[in-house]
């Protein structure tokens, strides 16, 4: 009984973690950017989605879509206002660009968080469940919404897989993550590819944000935590490796859930942190990391 509870509960949260982490690792893999405003983008999507669904009366489905669009716009803003200017700046030495991008996105993340808190207060908000009611899975009473969220997360990840492996643009993206120069030799515009990458990232982060709001609820105070969580999972799985992030997300999700059920809810984040420490000491490039 308890085991089934853990299995079911862990699956949904892990799927959501996976969705958030995949976007983060994708943008690093393709353009080398560690976007520390990641949590901020998710929070914007969640808050705007809530606003659209409730206050503006658009209803849950339309509101969710609006939220995803808001996430996408914020991702674009991050790229065009912060990341690209720094990458193109001639005043910064090439080996220092990464640091400046990191710092820049961190600052931008702070601006998003404070700005959102000003507009929305830091009270958590929730989006009404896409499907209401509960279902019974092997004796465990589970909200139908939770299953929907897991399904949607996997649908998004599946679409991403299709995109990367079956379309030309997707394959070019994959190529760019391995060897950017070679891809330009094949005739692709790097700047266009980057835009595509950020578009995909924005949509993924936006979906993750609204789903999180529907499942657990989101507030502006979560921004830093969400970035840290995606970040830890990606480090665990290996920077730039999408499959690594997926596996790591499930490991972390299940570790946390099992801890909350079997040990104590207060100690929930600890095992994954200990795992992170071990990985950093023993295998810093992560489970499936390349470099």
């Amino acid at each position: 009984m308890r085991a089934v509870q853990i299995l079911v509960d862990g699956f949904a949260i892990s799927s959501l973690y996976a969705l958030a982490a995949v976007g983060f690792t994708l943008i690093f893999g393709v353009s080398g950017v560690l976007n520390l405003a990641h949590g901020g983008i998710m929070v914007v999507a969640a808050l705007v989605g809530w606003l659209a669904a409730g206050e503006l009366g658009l209803g849950t489905y339309a509101g969710t879509l609006v939220g995803v669009v808001a996430g996408l716009i914020t991702a674009y803003a991050t790229y065009l206002i912060v990341v690209r200017p720094i990458q193109r700046s001639r005043a910064i030495r090439p080996e220092e660009t990464e640091i400046f991008v990191l710092t820049g996105t961190l600052l931008w993340g702070i601006m998003i968080q404070v700005g959102m808190a000003y507009l929305f207060t830091d009270n958590p908000v929730t989006i009404r469940p896409l499907i209401a009611g509960v279902v019974n899975i092997f004796g465990v009473r589970t909200p139908a919404n939770e299953i929907m969220i897991a399904a949607l997360s996997w649908a998004a990840i599946g679409l991403l897989w299709l995109l990367v492996n079956r379309t030309r643009t997707g394959k070019a993206l994959l190529g760019a993550s391995m060897n950017a120069r070679a891809v330009t030799l094949l005739g692709y515009e790097l700047s266009q590819l980057y835009l595509v990458a950020w578009t995909i990232y924005g949509v993924l982060a936006g979906i993750a944000g609204v789903l999180l709001a529907s499942f657990l609820g989101v507030s502006t105070t979560n921004a830093g935590q969400l970035t840290a969580s995606a970040f830890s999972i990606v480090v665990l799985g290996g920077l730039g490796s999408v499959s690594g992030s997926l596996i790591a997300a499930y490991i972390v999700g299940y570790l946390e859930t099992a801890t909350a059920y079997l040990i104590a809810p207060t100690l929930r984040p600890i095992p994954s942190l200990i795992l992170l420490v071990l990985v950093v000491y023993v295998r810093p490039q992560g489970l499936l990391g390349r470099r």
Binding site: V82, I99, T103, L107, V114, A228, Y281, P284
Partner: protein
């Protein structure tokens, strides 16, 4: 003596003298702001030593600061040990933390190093929050002892501490060891080829940075009377330290002090904005990164070079 002829020396001395006399004119509140800024200046200088000279971007200066600060806070609050003992213990704990951090981190290149330092901060943050019973959790803990209740005394403590650290750190940066560090930072391969043990020197740099960060962290706690995650551990503070150093000019050590004072004063000056002062400061800092990546002192020094 070459030192006495250097204009930088005279400007620095004049600034210190003026700063020491400020209590005659400034209000208690402004002195309080500057006191905090001076401790922040030490944080920034310690970071600049590590980054500017050892070439290692450290996203977790607050790991070292936090370890020092909380060690001191817990020793004082739970065990009632006197302030000097707590500060020394804090420095020691921070150095240990620095070594623990340096060992895995230095095996990595590029973003991975920064990542590890960031992970260290996250770990400390979670540790503090989870063991809230001992550490006061997210919102903080109070310490029973403070350095002094008198504003002027606190101010002079902070100023003398800053000057001491500045002299030591600046001296280190210009010494033979400092030059080796700089070489290791700019081009590790060549430095190693020249026969220097690069790793040993970088670990030493970590330890020095940790020593100053941890001690300053403890001093800050005993000035404020509180220790909390968002003043000494949070990544946001780490970013502010980096901004301060970048704002002032990397690799100048003294520029970091300028950047720190500017940042803290700006934060307080914008306090009447209420909620949005953090937004404005972050925006200004972002603007500096985008348009003046060399920082104030860096910009000034480069201009004088060109002339």
């Amino acid at each position: 003596m070459a030192l006495l002829r250097s204009p930088l020396f005279w400007i620095a001395t004049a600034t210190v003298v003026v700063a020491a006399l400020l209590p005659l004119w400034f209000s208690a509140y402004l002195l309080g702001v500057l006191t905090a800024a001076y401790y922040f200046g030490v944080f920034a200088m310690a970071w600049d030593l590590l980054f500017g000279f050892a070439g290692e971007v450290n996203f977790g200066p607050t790991f070292l600061i936090g370890v020092g600060a909380y060690t001191a806070a817990i020793l004082n609050s739970t065990y009632g040990l006197p302030i000097p003992v707590c500060v020394v213990a804090a420095a020691f704990a921070a150095v240990v933390g620095g070594i623990l951090l340096a060992v895995p981190a230095l095996r990595l290149r590029g973003p991975y190093f920064g990542l590890v330092t960031l992970v260290a901060v996250l770990l400390l943050q979670n540790f503090v929050v989870i063991f809230a019973g001992v550490t006061g959790g997210e919102i903080g803990m109070t310490v029973p002892d403070v350095l002094s209740v008198d504003v002027n005394t606190n101010y002079w403590y902070a100023l003398s501490f800053l000057v001491l650290c500045a002299v030591l750190l600046f001296g280190l940066s210009r010494s033979a060891v400092g030059l080796i560090l700089q070489a290791s930072g700019q081009d590790a391969v060549e430095a190693a080829a020249l026969g220097f043990n690069v790793t040993k020197h970088k670990i030493a740099a970590f330890c020095v940075s940790a020593l100053f960060s941890g001690t300053a962290g403890a001093m800050l706690i005993f000035y404020m009377g509180t220790a909390s995650v968002d003043t000494v551990v949070d990544v946001a503070i780490a970013v502010q330290i980096i901004i301060a150093a970048v704002l002032g000019g990397r690799r100048t050590i003294l520029g970091a002090v300028l950047g720190a004072v500017f940042l803290i004063v700006a934060n307080e000056f914008l306090r009447p904005l209420g909620q949005l002062n953090a937004f404005v400061v972050a925006a200004i800092a972002l603007g500096v990164i985008l348009f003046f990546p060399d920082g104030l002192l860096g910009y000034a020094l480069h201009r004088s070079e060109r002339e």
